[in-house]
Amino acid sequence: MTGERLLQVQDLTVRYQTQMGETHAVSGVTFFVNKNEVFGIAGESGCGKSTLIRALMRLLPDNAKMSAQSIEYEGEELTRLSEAKFREKILWARMSLVPQSAMNSLNPVYRVGDQVVEAIQAHKNVSKSEARERVTELFDIVGLQPDLMKNFPHEFSGGMRQRAMIAMSLALDPGLVVMDEPTTGLDVLVQERILRRIREIRSQISSSIILITHDIAVIAEMSDRIAVMYGGQIMEQAPANDLFDTPCHPYTLGLKNAFPSIRNLQQKLISIPGSPPTLLGAPSSCPFLERCPFCVQQCSQRNPENITIQPLHEVRCVRHGEAPLLREKASEKETWRSLN
Amino acid sequence: MPTSELPQTSAWRRILGEHYRIIMGNRLSAVGFVFIVLFLVVAIFAPWLAPHDPWEMLYDQEGEFASLRPPSWEFPMGTTHLGYDLFSQLILATRTTLLIGAISGGISILIGANIGLIAGYYGGKVDEVLMRFTDVLYGMPFLPFIIVLISLFGRELEFVILAIVLIIWRTSARVIRAQTISIKQRQFIAAARARGCSHLRIIYRHILPNVLPLLLLYAAFNIAWSIITEASASFLGFGDGETISWGGMLYELWLSGKTRVAWWWFTAPSLCIVLLVTSLVFVSRAYEEVANPRLRKR
């Protein structure tokens, strides 16, 4: 897995000004994505994964402030680019986004093909016929019949609309495509086809993919490397096999327990008691503190550091050294009894 | 666990507290509320506050007939051409205006809200019938209507109120019906049906509390509109014959022919109308923010 670095993010923080004070939606996130790789970001609601992506694409709302030590894309330092330059050079052309519920963001009064053509022409100086040709190519890549270009969005099913959005995101041949919950809300069979198609096009296109979802199974099947987010921070990141074979962070262990598998019907499902933190102020303790059955005094004193325990496997937990013991205890239901 | 251990707050206190917070939460609305309270106090204590009889021909301290006097220490708002004290008139007119406004506004919102709720909830034929009825009334022009009514039945207070109510309730009905329809489709209404609530219970116990902010908003509007409508009617001579209202004062001014001369005569009642209506609108804005959360500051 020693590919070239495509994207390197260091110490990214996003703060929101709200009536209740300053919330740190994302804190000190550091990760990288190689070329030709699928990087999965797993996490539940409120963990900051969508905010992280919007920060990367500079699509944050006005009351948000982003700061980062460095965001390097293909060697170029993005933090030095102005908003205008970013929109012109990077957005869509080199990094594109398939946002959440993308299938609902197609304009209902224009034909689907025209919308993709418009998106292409907005960024590249090509003629309409050249753009149309490209759209035909793209539809082919995502598995849509080219004559569907003249249809309106309401004539497409949910799955087809999602594929149209994926096609749009590939239009300018970006090096990096970010997909935010690409199959959430779609039926199982439709989801299966889209995921399969994404896997198939990896060889056709040379883009890397950042895949964001709360569905652990989808992430397991699609990703080469996975980061687990909680409370605005990356709690653990590792190659997919390593993460599932030897998970170290208590939250990862909890997620594994809570996620049912159709192949293991005898599994005892164990949930994590409590609810996600409010993220007010800079993290002064571990965000998972209140729900963690393994916390010790150190955890409440300061935010744990990110430790590399194996090549490419990082954990943010003071008890990372005791991982095998934690794994054993985590599989017992008693360990997770409500911590009130 | 025995229920006596549950935290007990009197329901009334809770509700009043909530409304106080809504009104005071907004600076404009708080100011408006103060003025409304001021007018209310004047209206309630009017007979004791007015220094003179409003229909008494007055003489000033030097014994001269006090006709068309501009504001002075003796007559704070001046006098009419017949020597009537405008200050006293204003105070007593406040009572009339507020009374008509409150009653008309109150009745019209009651009618409008109920029609809106029932039409919106039941839909189908009921909705069609009620809305046709409302549409018919939309077509009714106010002025000719009140002229006919008053001409037929005389300048009685009841008919003035009736005319106003019949015209004003329409808008609130439409608006509340629209919101009822959207609330009706929310899952908690289906849940209420599943628990066994009757239709009436759902309308008044489940939907009404959610429509309340909008309802109060339109209640304030209705009172404001009633006041303006009454003032217009009185100004045209179709107000109640017995008592004086702000609009009536303007009517008297117009009748006297002294409009160009006596600036003080029209300033006071006009200002009062504007002030009261504006205050009502400001207070209603506070409710609008509750009814439409998008208006709230994040």
Partner: protein, 339 residues
């Protein structure tokens, strides 16, 4: 005798016609949401109904809960016919069957405090004197894991999704129903708290002796809660049987495809490629026969003419609505790798 029995239950909706169509006197299009479904539910049993969107599972569960009337067929509860109840009898049925809804953010009245929400059902039906209603509601809050001192006076917007769903469960169970219909109660909750709510439901079901019809598209969850499973496609029941049987040994081509399509939280697993084609359509004026035929790799003309109606049978618990089943299994054509 089964607690709940559906016999040949069908539900059609009429598609609203535009003025032009009315003038042209075109026949009204019908959405045949549910077609001739038979099912039974025993005491203390959890029946899972699974399928993708448009399969009719939500419509079926609304009919079972008495919120929707079938177009044809009969529903019997505890031996009594309940699909055409008079208004006066509906109150009785409400006590027998209660519903748990999908969206915790929408299924609670935002103006009601938690205790008021829980007490609303008994108050509406005047089940007990007020004092007793309050006591039972307070008890119910404890039973669902929400300490009353902390939660009784709160508003929904002060609660998390999981807490709200617990309130929903409490307000259904305070009525002491014998049967609970749950419409995807977990799908809008975070993964890490789903297991807790699931446990709660299982726990309360065994303690308070109610049966449950659990509707979901998530086969993984159904595998963990349902005793028996029924798979629906476009309004028809295609397979039913004991849950583990159906999941481990699916017979119907649709069920096989469905189970093979469920992603597995294990990066090393490679799933077989499903061989069905096309997309799910809306059940508007569908052709007679098996509705899966257009997409089925094994379909023949026989399949398009009539469909097999599943009939619950104690002696044959695992049933499949495929006319070619025996033929295909004999020639081993159904050998898609099973999970």
């Amino acid at each position: 005798m089964a607690l709940l029995e559906l016999n040949n239950v069908t539900k059609h909706f009429e598609v609203r016609q535009g003025v032009l169509q009315k003038l042209q006197r075109q026949p009204v299009s019908l959405i045949k949401a549910v077609q001739s479904v038979n099912l039974t539910l025993g005491e203390n049993e959890v029946l899972g109904i699974a399928g993708e969107s448009g399969c009719g599972k939500s419509t079926t569960c609304l009919m079972i809960a008495g919120m929707l009337q079938p177009s044809a067929g009969e529903i019997h509860f505890s031996g009594k016919r309940v699909d055409q109840l008079l208004a006066s009898e509906q109150a009785w049925y409400r006590r027998q069957v209660q519903m748990i809804f999908q969206d915790p953010y929408e299924s609670l009245n935002p103006r009601f405090r938690v205790l008021e929400t829980v007490a609303e059902g008994p108050r509406a039906l005047k089940l007990w004197p007020e004092k007793e209603i309050l006591e039972r509601s307070v008890d119910m809050l404890s039973s669902v894991g929400l300490p009353p001192a902390k939660y009784a006076e709160r508003y929904p917007h002060e609660l998390s999704g999981g807490e709200r769903q617990r309130v929903g469960i409490a307000s259904a169970l305070v009525m002491e129903p014998r049967m609970v219909v749950a419409d995807e109660p977990l799908s809008m909750l975070d993964v890490s708290i789903r297991a807790g709510i699931l446990d709660l439901l299982k726990d309360l079901a065994s303690k308070r002796h109610f049966s449950c019809v659990y509707v979901s598209h998530d086969l993984s969850i159904l595998g963990h809660i349902a005793d028996r499973l029924m798979i629906m496609y476009l309004g028809q029941a295609v397979e039913m049987g004991p849950t583990w049987e159906v999941i481990r040994n699916p017979q119907h081509p649709y069920t096989r495809a469905l189970i093979n399509a469920v992603p597995v939280p294990d990066p090393r697993v490679i799933r077989p490629v499903p061989t069905i084609r096309g997309e799910v359509s809306r059940p508007i004026n569908p052709p007679p026969g098996c509705r899966f035929a257009p997409r089925c790799p094994h379909a023949t003309t026989v399949c398009q003419q009539a469909f097999l109606q599943l009939q619950p049978d104690e002696n044959k618990p695992h049933q499949t609505a495929c006319v070619r089943l025996e033929e295909l299994s004999q020639t081993n054509q159904l050998a898609e790798a099973s999970p």
